[in-house]
Symmetry: C2
Subunit: 189 residues, 2 copies
């Protein structure tokens, strides 16, 4: 038997996360097994449990960086040279664009109902949402209320979660996204 590999190829959390991210992206959380991840790396599935407590935790470690990426995207928009009104719609659009260019991540971040995963993914969505809401209030010079930010978020979420299920890319639904954003913003002013 061979109960240990040479150190040159020792497994790391990052290696696992990279393999997992790719597989999850292709097939989604439920459709990827720990054994598939392990075999993509050339290790036995048991070894994954040395680095991560379970599938949900591995998943959460991955998704954590995706929340940061979303924050980054929104920050980038905020830093652009543009009037607040323009920025406002760009922020909403950025949210949609993020969701549709990271479909399976978005699914996991905001959509997955798996109890096991939900217990890990709690702060993530909240913090990202807070940042998002704060931006809206600022950009609108307090004309958008906290109540309204929630409705705006949910309305965007509806768009993204619907188009997450089909094969269309962001580019293909871009104009629909624009008109949805316009629709949403009409409520606020």
């Amino acid at each position: 038997m061979s109960p240990r590999k040479a150190v040159a190829q020792e497994l790391t959390q990052d290696m696992v996360m990279m393999a997992a991210r790719e597989l999850f992206r292709e097939k989604g959380y439920q459709q990827v097994s720990m054994r598939q991840i392990a075999s993509a790396l050339g290790y036995s599935h048991g070894s994954l449990y040395y680095h991560f407590k379970n599938k949900a935790e591995l998943f959460y470690a991955m998704i954590e960086t995706d929340f940061k990426l979303l924050d980054q995207w929104l920050d980038d928009v905020m830093k652009r040279e543009m009037d607040d009104k323009g920025k406002l719609s760009e922020v909403l659009l950025a949210f949609i664009r993020f969701g549709l260019t990271h479909k399976s991540q978005y699914e996991m971040m905001f959509l997955l109902a798996d109890e096991e995963v939900k217990s890990y993914v709690n702060k993530g969505p909240n913090e990202s949402y807070e940042k998002f809401a704060q931006s809206l209030v600022e950009l609108s010079k307090r004309e958008i209320t906290i109540q309204q930010t929630w409705s705006i978020f949910l309305s965007l979420h509806g768009f993204v979660s619907h188009y997450c299920r089909c094969d269309e890319t962001f580019e293909e639904v871009k104009s629909l996204a624009h008109s949805h954003v316009n629709f949403i913003l009409k409520s606020t002013g």
Copy 2:
């Protein structure tokens, strides 16, 4: 052995669907196994496959009647004695109420990404949506465009799909639902 039961208790599709509906309602699609359904009925799990090709087909048979129920709910609102403006918000509210009082069905109807199930659920959502959109156009005396009905639907869908994930009942989020509906309708006037 006992490879056959007395005819008095022969298994029917309806019996299976009733047991399944109850279990799915309690725990959701993924969390209910064919073995659980069978044992709730007092039969071996193999027998279910005599009546349904597989789990997804059993679920779809169930969900089909739920699309009809949603149509019914919307129809009922349309038949009420009320001005069109009031009806409009009642229709939107009815959609949310339906979604949150039939969470796992809603998930299946509009949310589930499972390829197996999606291949079954195709006409259902489209037909229900058409009916919904038609109502909106009528009630608004054509002031709501087809484009807008889609945004309205997606915005409602966002609300429902978000609250589908948590344990809250419709009653508990009723006031939030009201304010979301108001938010949406502000875009249309």
